[in-house]
C-alpha cells in the first residue's frame, strides 16, 4: 500500500496556496476574536492546521485505490456515526451536529463523511464501465447519497447536507447522463422544492424569507445578512485594517470567525483583499481540476472533481451569503473558517487529490 513517493511529485503550488489561505484565515480569526471568549481560537486553528497537514500527508501516501476498496465499510461506518450523532451528539444552537471527543474537541461527523461520499461516488461511477449513466444506476447512487443527507438534514443541518449534492451532481455529469434524465430531474425538482419548503423548519423558512427580503425583519433572521452586507460594504476598496473593522470588532457581525469570516475579512481588508483571497481560491480550484485532468484513471479523476465540486459549492454558498447573494446556511468557508472538522476534512480531501497526483505516472 505504501510506496515510495517522490517529494517533487507533491503539488507544491497547491500546498503554497493552501498555506497562504490558511494564514489569512488565522489572521482573521485572531482579529475577529480579539478580546472575546474565543480569543484563543487563532492558535487552536494553527493546531488544527498542523494536524490537518499530517492528515493530508497520510491521505497522500495512502493509495486512493486502497481506500476505495474499503469504501463500503467506510460508508457504513460513516452512516452509523451520523446515527450516533443524532442519538448522543452535542446540541449547540438547537442543532445536534457534534460528537464530543476528549481534549474539548467536537467532531462534526457530517464534515468527515464527505470523504467517504467522494470515494464512494468515484468507485461507483468507475465500476459502471460505461460512458452513459443508466437510470437504474442513477437511482442507486442517489439513494446511497440521500441516506446520509437525510440523517444530516435531521440534525438539523440542511446546509451541510446540501454540500453532498455537488459531489453527486458533478459525478453524474462527468459519467454522462441522458438529457431526458436531466430534464426529468429538473421537473422533479420543480415539484419537490415547494413540497420540501413546506416541510422545512421554521428557522430554515425564515432564513429563506430573510434572504429574499432581509430588511423585512432587521432584528431577526435578516439581521445577520444585513450586518454582513454592512461589514463588506464598509470595508470599501482598501479595508479598515486588521482589528479595525467596527462591524467585526463590536460584534455586530455574527460569528465573525466561523461562518461569516469572509465578511470580517472583507471589512478589514477591503475589495483588494477579497480579490486576493478569491484569486487564491480560484487557482486552488484550477489546480485541483488540473490534477483531475491528469489523473491516471477514471477513479482518480472522479475523486479530484468531487473534491473540486464540493469546494466550489462551499465557496459559492458561503461567500455568496456574505454578500447577500445566497441564503444564510451556516456552512463554513474551507481553509479560512475556524473549526477542526472543516479544516481536517478539507485537508483530507486535498490529500486525496495529491494521492491521485503522485500516482499519475503509475499506469
Amino acid at each position: 500500500m505504501f510506496q515510495f513517493i517522490g517529494i517533487k511529485d507533491f503539488d507544491w503550488t497547491m500546498f503554497f496556496i493552501v498555506m497562504v489561505i490558511c494564514g489569512l484565515g488565522v489572521l482573521q480569526i485572531f482579529s475577529a476574536t480579539l478580546d472575546t471568549v474565543f480569543a484563543d481560537s487563532w492558535w487552536k486553528q494553527i493546531f488544527f492546521i498542523a494536524a490537518g497537514l499530517v492528515l493530508m500527508w497520510l491521505a497522500t501516501v495512502i493509495d486512493y485505490h486502497a481506500l476505495m476498496a474499503q469504501i463500503y465499510p467506510l460508508y457504513i461506518a460513516s452512516v452509523t456515526l451520523l446515527v450516533v450523532v443524532l442519538l448522543v451528539g452535542k446540541r449547540v444552537f438547537g442543532s445536534t451536529r457534534w460528537i464530543p471527543l476528549p481534549a474539548g474537541i467536537h467532531l462534526q461527523v457530517s464534515e468527515l463523511a464527505k470523504i467517504a461520499i467522494i470515494l464512494l461516488v468515484a468507485r461507483f461511477l468507475t465500476e459502471l464501465r460505461s460512458d452513459v449513466l443508466e437510470l437504474r444506476d442513477l437511482l442507486k447512487l442517489a439513494g446511497i447519497i440521500l441516506l446520509p443527507m437525510a440523517l444530516i438534514a435531521k440534525e438539523p443541518d440542511l446546509g451541510t447536507a446540501l454540500t453532498y449534492l455537488p459531489i453527486l451532481g458533478v459525478g453524474i455529469f462527468l459519467a454522462g447522463m441522458r438529457w431526458k434524465y436531466w430534464l426529468t430531474i429538473a421537473i422533479i425538482l420543480l415539484v419537490v422544492v415547494p413540497v420540501g419548503y413546506a416541510s422545512l423548519h421554521a428557522y430554515q423558512k425564515a432564513r429563506i424569507v430573510s434572504f429574499l427580503d432581509p430588511e423585512r425583519d432587521p432584528q431577526g433572521t435578516g439581521y445577520q445578512l444585513i450586518q454582513s452586507k454592512i461589514a463588506v460594504g464598509a470595508g470599501g476598496t482598501w479595508g479598515k485594517g486588521v482589528t479595525k473593522g467596527s462591524q467585526t470588532q463590536l460584534r455586530f457581525l455574527p460569528v465573525p470567525h466561523t461562518d461569516f469570516i469572509f465578511s470580517a475579512f472583507a471589512e478589514e481588508h477591503g475589495f483588494i483583499g477579497v480579490m486576493l483571497a478569491l484569486v487564491l481560491y480560484f487557482v486552488l480550484l484550477m489546480q485541483i481540476v488540473q490534477n483531475g485532468q491528469t489523473a491516471p484513471d477514471r477513479a482518480g479523476m472522479y475523486v479530484c472533481m468531487g473534491v473540486g465540486a464540493l469546494l466550489l459549492f462551499h465557496i459559492l454558498v458561503n461567500v455568496g451569503m456574505v454578500v447577500g447573494r445566497m441564503p444564510v446556511t451556516g456552512i463554513p468557508l474551507p481553509l479560512m473558517s475556524y473549526g477542526g472538522s472543516s479544516i481536517w476534512s478539507t485537508f483530507l480531501m486535498l490529500g486525496l487529490v495529491n494521492s491521485v497526483r503522485i500516482r499519475r505516472f503509475v499506469n
Binding site: D131, A231, G233, G236, L250, L278, L312, V323
Partner: protein, 631 residues
Amino acid sequence: MRFSSVEHRPEPTQPQKIQLRDDASFASNKIAAFQYTAVAIFLFLITGFWELQIKSPEIYNERAERNRIKSLPVVAPRGKILDRDGRVIVDNHSSWSLILSRENLHTEHLREIADGLHLDYDDLMQKVARYRKRPKYEPIIIKEELTPADLAFVESHRDPETFPEMETILSQRRLYPQNGVLAHVIGYTGEISESELDEPDFAKYNQGQIIGKTGIEKEYNDILMGVDGERQSVVDNRGREREVLGIKEAKPGKNLQLTIDLDLQAVAELALQGHKGAVVALNPQNGEVLAMASQPTFDPNKFAVRIKGSDWKEITSDPGNPLLNRAIQAQWAPGSTFKPIVGLAGLESGSIDEDTVFHCAGGASFYGHFYKCLEVHGAVTLHKGIVASCDAYFYGVGNKTGIDNIAFYAHQVGYGAKSGIDLPNEAAGVVPSPEWQMRNYRQKWYLGQTISVSIGQGATTVTPLQMARAIGGIAMGGVWHTPHLLSSATGKEKPHEWALNPDNVKRIVYGMYGVVNEGGTGVRARIPNIDVCGKTGTAQVASAEYEKSHRDLKDNSWFVGYAPCYNPEIVVSVLWENSGVQGAMDAPTARDVMKAYFDKKVRIAEAAAEAERQKHNPASAIVSALSPAHD
C-alpha cells in the same frame, strides 16, 4: 455483464478505443465545462463585492457608523424659579430615568419590563408605537424618578441575555413647593403631547421633551428650558459602551426671578386654605404681582414627571376645580366693588358731583320696578353711598350717568379685557353695554339693566386680578400698569393711562377710606397707623329666588383694598366663592397681606438702619457679630 451496456454503443469515430480507456481523457470537455462554471461563479461573487465595496461603500460605511455610534441625550436642567428676594420657589433635583434603546428593542420584552418597573403595559406599548416613525437611534424615556428598587431591577436585567435595551440616564426633575403653594402661578411641566407637536409653536421641540404645560412654566418655557446635550459613544452589538467619543454638555435653562414675595404669598395661601377663592396683591405703581393665590389648589409635584392616571382623574373630577387659577380665571359679578367705578364715571362725566343726593327708602323705583337696598339710608351723597354701600344711591348714579359712560370707564379701568399678565389662559370678564348686548344676544338694551350694572350685578363679570388692577389704577390717578410676574419686566411696558380729574379721584379714594376707617363695611381691613382704603362687595351667583332653593349656592364675597390711600404701594383683591357673608373673611385676608407687606418694609428699613449704624460704629459691629445670629 456491465460491459454489455456499451456494446450497443460502438464509437465509430474512434475505432482504436474499442474498450473504455480507464483514464480521465473521456471527460475533458466536461471538465472544461466545470472550469467555465467555476469562472462564472467567481465572477458572480466578485460582482457582489464590487457592488458593496466599490459602487456604494458610503451607504454601508454610514450604516456601520450608525451601528457603532450611539447618542444619549444629556437632559438640560430647567432654570430655577425664584421669588423677588431670590428665594428658591422651584428647584431641581437629579434623578435616574430609564430609557429604551430602540435599536435593540424587542417588543416581547415590554411586558416583563413594564411589570418590573410597575408601569402600565398598554401605556408602554402605545408609547413605543408612537415612536415607530422616528429614527431608530432616538431612545424612548419610559420612566423617570427611578426608585432604588427600579434601579436594582434595571441593573439585574440589563445584561445582553435579558433586556439589553434598558439604559439609565441621569436627569433633572422639578421640585415644586409643598401643599400647592403658588401652584397655579408656576404651573407644571410635562412631556410634550402628540397634539402639541402638531402645533407650529411647538415645532422646535422634539418628541419626549419636557416642556412647561401651564403657568409660568409654560409662559417662560423658552427661558427655563435650556438646550439638551448629547453623549456620543461607541457601543458594541449589546449596547455596551466601549469608548466615549464626545460629550456635548447640556446648556442649563436660565433662572427666572418672579415679582412674587413668598412672605406675602404665604399669608395669602394660609388665609384662603380650606376655602374656594383667590387673592391677588399688586404693586399698582409698576404692575408687579406680589402675591397670587388660588384655592383649592393641587400638588404640581404629581405632574413633575408623568402624572398617574388615577391622580389626573382625582384632580380633574374634583368639583372644586383645583386646576382653575381663580385669580385670573374666575369671572364673577363684582357686586358693590364696582360702585367706586360707577361713582367715578358719574363724576368724570359730570352727571353727578360729590353733593348730588339720591334718596334711599330701602330701595328706589325705576321704570316701574322697585330695586331693593339692604337698609333705609335716607338722603345719600357720594361719600356715604360708598361707605355704607347704598345700592339705591348708585341706582340713581347709574341711571343718571347712563350705561355708555359706565361701560366707558369700566373699560378704562381694565374691565372686559385681558389685563395682559404673563400667564396663559387669562379670562377677560364682561362689561355689558348696549353694543355688547346687541353683538352677543341680538337684543336691545333695557334701561333696567343699567340699574343692575350700577351695583356690579347683571352681566358684569371681573376677575380678581382685574379688580386689583382697576382699583389700584384709580388710586394712582388713572395709571393702570400691566400686571406681570417676571421681575425683569418691571418698567418695560407702557401703562394704560387716562387722565382722571384729581379731585374726582380724591372723592372716590375718600369714600374707600371711609369704608375701612369710618365704620363702613370694610372695617375689618383696618391697620393701625396705615391708611387703608377699600371696598367690599357681595355678588349673587344666581337670582335670589334660585339661591333660596339651592342652599349651597351662596353669594360670592369680594374685598379690594389698598394702602396707603395716595401713592399706594399695594393693592389686594380677595374673592371668596360662596361665602355668603359680606366682608367677613375677605377684608381680614386683604388686611393680613397688606400688613405683612408693611411689616416687612419696616423690618427691612430697620435692618438697613442697623447696617448703616454698624458701618459707622465698628464696635457695635463686633458685638452684633458675636451675638447669636437672628433673622
